[in-house]
């Protein structure tokens, strides 16, 4: 995702930009906020209808779309708010490919489950 060089996070106070001014336009992509997440959205891509509602509602632009189709999540920037899962209008017809549960195409799974 991030094509820009990340700003250094270890500069001593004399070398920081006064007033917190950001001189490098668009460098927020290098700021990894996905580590804040406690719940991870997962998608059953096979049963997804590609309605793109998750892409519209995501407040962090963390739904990755390629050639007009959803291909996954940007987990570097997804904070796990769950809006995509809440707004997903499609119910699975067979158990979810990742969770094995019935329910929405996008479901929220505790991050801790992935650490096991």
């Amino acid at each position: 995702m991030a094509t820009k060089e990340a700003p250094r996070l270890d500069l001593p106070w004399k070398e920081a930009n006064p007033g917190g001014i950001v001189l490098d336009a668009g460098n927020s992509v290098t700021y990894i906020t996905g580590t804040w997440r406690t719940l991870r959205p997962v998608r059953d891509l096979e049963q997804c209808t590609q309605c793109l509602i998750c892409w519209i509602v995501c407040p962090d632009a963390a739904i990755t779309v390629k050639d007009g189709k959803v291909v996954g999540f940007d987990y570097d920037h997804c904070k796990g708010c769950g809006i995509c899962a809440q707004q997903c209008p499609v119910n699975v017809k067979k158990p979810h490919a990742i969770t094995g549960e019935m329910g929405k195409v996008i479901q929220m799974v505790p991050e801790a489950d992935f650490q096991k």
């Binding site: 996070l9 500069l11 001593p12 106070w13 920081a16 007033g19 917190g20």
Partner: protein, 398 residues
């Protein structure tokens, strides 16, 4: 030195004249007594085409300071004015202006904070903002308010400071009081303030920047350290700018005005207009052979501790006059007192008796007999060796 033209002006109008001569790019303001006259007069200059300023009449003081922040971030030279509850409503934006290192100049015409509702002078409004990262200047007269407004532009925009400046004067007492004010020629003021060349501007699309952005646990601390460094190092620069202005105007511009302090036994330290009343009494007492002195800091933030300590360290007793209460400090002392006593302690001076007088709250008149009573108290403290009450009240009905 250039000749000033003398005019009968109230302190508010004196500031409007300075603003006209400075010709700032943007003024965003909301009216509040007793500041209203400052911006009212200035808006007339805008309407008359005497300035090029973009005048933004906003819906509140919060909006006023917000507009100032935006305009300053865009690279404009920005001024505004307020008082009392208007300053209180600006509170959130005061910290944003200083944290973003925006050199905004704000005139405060000091007025008591509600409640109870009162429109008259005390310093509770600007004193509450003393930790907000703004430099603060206090004027004794309309003349000083005029002079400070012009100096404030240079101070705020100095590349080694880059902090907003609050230029204060006493509401009604000088704000509405007409006096003889010397006005410099327009060109002299314009040359003195020069052109503002911001290092960064939001409107510079060739060099796009983001200001006021997210600053998390990883940098906020470092940015605050830079901010306090700028404030800590500001005093020598302020002194230099005061000196330059003194050369231009021919009016003395020390950062701390001393009267009789070379050999004073008894000193009163007081900000703004009451310094004049105090000096009047001091002159009479000196004529009677009593060694009294008066110290009037023109700069309060950053606090000129060294200058004040140096002047009072050989006194027998010192009184601080505070026109605001710092509620909850030991015995409810005022901010000037707590600053001075902590500075004394830091210098290892602990034997000097210093007492605080809360005075003039809500515009209560402070008249010469009250100042005389303070000098009498100081004589008594020195004679008896008993400091007595630490915090006293001047002009309060007991």
């Amino acid at each position: 030195m250039v000749e000033s033209k003398y005019m009968p002006l109230d302190g508010a109008n004196a500031v409007s004249q300075a603003m006209r001569q400075i010709n700032p790019d943007v003024v965003a303001a909301y009216p509040i007594t007793p500041q209203t006259a400052v911006v009212q007069n200035f808006s007339q200059y805008v309407a008359d085409g005497l300035v090029d300023t973009e005048f933004v009449p906003v819906e509140s003081e919060h909006a006023a300071m917000s507009a100032c922040v935006g305009a300053s971030a865009a690279g404009a030279r920005v001024m505004t004015a307020t008082a009392a509850n208007g300053l209180a409503l600006m509170w959130e934006m005061l910290y944003i202006a200083s944290g973003m290192r925006l050199p905004i100049v704000l005139t405060v015409v000091n007025r008591a904070l509600s409640s109870p509702l009162n429109i008259h002078c005390d310093h509770s409004d600007s004193m509450g903002a003393r930790d907000s990262g703004w430099l603060q200047l206090y004027a004794e007269t309309g003349q000083e308010a005029y002079d400070n407004t012009i100096k404030a532009i240079r101070i705020a925009e100095h590349p080694d400071i880059l902090l907003p400046v609050m230029s204060c004067q006493d509401g009604f007492i000088t704000g509405h009081g007409v006096e003889r004010v010397g006005i410099l020629p327009d060109e002299a003021v314009q040359e003195f303030v020069g052109t503002y060349h911001p290092k960064y501007s939001l409107l510079d699309t060739d060099h796009p920047v983001t200001m006021g952005a997210w600053d998390f646990t990883d940098y906020y601390f470092e940015h605050k350290r830079q901010q306090t460094e700028a404030m800590n190092n500001a005093l020598p620069i302020v002194k230099q700018i005061f000196r330059e202005y003194e050369e231009l105007s021919g009016r003395p511009q020390s950062i701390v005005d001393m009267w009789g302090m070379d050999d004073a036994d008894y000193a009163i330290i007081v900000l703004a207009s009451t310094a004049g009343t105090t000096r009047t009494v001091a002159r009479e007492w000196r004529a009677r052979g009593i060694k009294v002195g008066v110290i009037k800091p023109r700069v309060y933030r950053p606090f000129p501790a060294q200058e004040i300590i140096e002047a009072i360290k050989n006194c027998k007793a010192v009184a601080v006059l505070d026109r605001a209460i710092s509620f909850g400090t030991p015995l409810g002392a005022g901010p000037l007192f707590t600053d001075i006593t902590s500075a004394l302690y830091n210098e290892g001076i602990t034997g000097l008796p210093v007492v605080d007088y809360i005075y003039g709250l809500g515009g209560r008149d402070t008249v010469p007999p009250m100042i005389e009573s303070v000098y009498q108290d100081l004589q008594e403290i020195a004679a008896t060796g008993e400091r007595g009450a630490l915090v006293r009240y001047l002009g309060l009905r007991e």
